[in-house]
Symmetry: C2
């Protein structure tokens, strides 16, 4: 196999998005004809599917077929979708627009947003019980890892710290914002990359290190995009943080400093996967694209 | 062993409540000192612990020690607590009082209520990965069962139907309200009773049938309490449904009709456990108490 045989990141990402969407559609195919189910489908459509891609691609690095890992990819996207639905609510980030579409509480109402988000989290754990993922030991390891990554020591902690930052007397320090982001976006990205190793029964440490660097680079890129991006392309409101006077990696490091830090994190991410050779090509490609994206 | 050796329901319920509370305290012992964690602890304190009792007692019927089943009992109580925190929010049932105390969004704020509820759901699934519960196969069966019981085909569906009923042109029929309650309160009660059989590797069918009758009796008793009860004793606002013009088992069957239906469901619940003899004594006692409670 030569390097050119490995798909580039955009191709692999598009393919992963289609696969994940198909799996999510199947998961909700026979459910009741109720607004909460429609809102779940709506919240799960679109998006980059970066987390789902990371699951499928980290599994592929160990020779695991996409069909085997697919329910874990769909699970983390359902989990991510729940967090967005709740995060967009008026009492949280109060966003009207997501992926270029009205948010769930705007299109339906707040009660439907609460319930659809709740049921999307439940769906994530249901998906991880799919026997296709492997032995019960493998599936329990995935459940435990996702619970720890997304709960009050992971993603939810990051969201709570983010909300607390809005009313804090002074902007956060670089250490504080790094801790916040390690929870808010980093924990799910880490779980996604580790999932492939867990499904394959391989050592998850190199993928964990890769994803820790990738997650932070992703967030720094998000902060850069918030300043330099085009809302029409990004599909969401921009320059929110600067307007709100919140600390970001850009406000703390400057635009050039933030760009340099993101580049060095991508180098670090690449370094952690060096021992996998060409099999890590697409994941390394992903890290490079993450800091060059425009949405 | 004589009948008198089996604990009565109130004794067994109190003991279960202490055990469950201890397990929940342990689960959150080393977490961050953040409002969302405090709100989780607050939301998990108090309450009857009927669901946790059902887990421990159904396990005991098969000779399973409380320590073995305890994480499943704590899990369903964490799951139940999440549903109450979200259900009390202004956009849902809009309740200020729960178990005689201010609800989470009143004591903190709505964002904390969203996040604490979210993290309590996550904690429920984390608790089900506890190796003390048995093999990975057993734990995955518990995770899958709880996901199906609590998600968009179970509890959340019931909550959504309940909210839709508030704006419906006409009150619900008996069939519709029975379906609503089978999801809203029935599904978790069923899972709780089945959990003991799953942990023991026994047939869950008799416990499922028992719990289906028990869950409906429980809800009818709730509707009766809503009309005849004392808010100070119940620790929550009463006569909400009658004021809102919503259909209840009392409005549909009359007070005496509802009482008769609850009694016949208790007989039915007892019948399903008859083959277990004196081992089912406390569970049968529970069914009798459920329709005689004042809170």
């Amino acid at each position: 196999m030569t390097l050119s045989a490995a798909p580039t990141f955009p191709t692999a990402l598009s393919l992963a998005a289609v696969r994940v969407q198909t799996r999510l559609n199947t998961a909700l195919a026979d459910r009741a004809d109720e607004p909460v189910i429609h809102a779940m489908r709506y919240a799960m459509s679109g998006g980059k599917r970066l987390r789902g891609f990371l699951v499928l691609e980290s599994a592929a690095m160990f020779g695991i077929a996409p069909e085997t890992a697919l329910s874990a990819a769909a699970a983390v996207e359902a989990l991510h979708a729940y967090s967005l639905v709740h995060d967009d609510m008026p009492c949280m980030d109060d966003d009207d627009l997501r992926r270029g579409q009205p948010t769930v509480h705007v299109k339906w109402d707040e009660a439907t947003a609460v319930l659809a988000g709740d049921a999307l989290q439940t769906l994530a754990f249901e998906l991880l019980t799919d026997p296709a993922l492997g032995s019960a030991e493998t599936r329990i390891a995935l459940v435990r890892g996702l619970a720890l990554a997304s709960g009050a020591q992971g993603m939810v902690l990051g969201q709570a710290l983010d909300i607390a930052a809005e009313t804090a007397a002074s902007p956060l320090s670089l250490d504080q914002i790094t801790r916040l982001q390690a929870g808010k976006t980093g924990a799910l990205i880490r779980w996604s990359a580790e999932a492939g190793a867990i499904i394959a029964g391989a050592d998850p440490a190199p993928l964990r290190a890769y994803a820790t660097a990738l997650g932070l680079a992703f967030q720094i890129a998000d902060d850069i995009l918030d300043v330099t991006g085009d809302a029409a392309v990004a599909g969401k409101r921009l320059q929110k943080d600067a307007t709100a006077g919140k600390a970001t990696f850009v406000s703390l490091l400057g635009l050039e400093g933030a760009q340099a830090r993101a580049r060095s994190l991508v180098d670090e991410a690449e370094h952690h996967l060096a021992s996998y050779g060409h099999k890590a090509h697409t994941l390394i490609d992903a890290a490079r694209f993450v800091i060059a994206r425009d949405s």
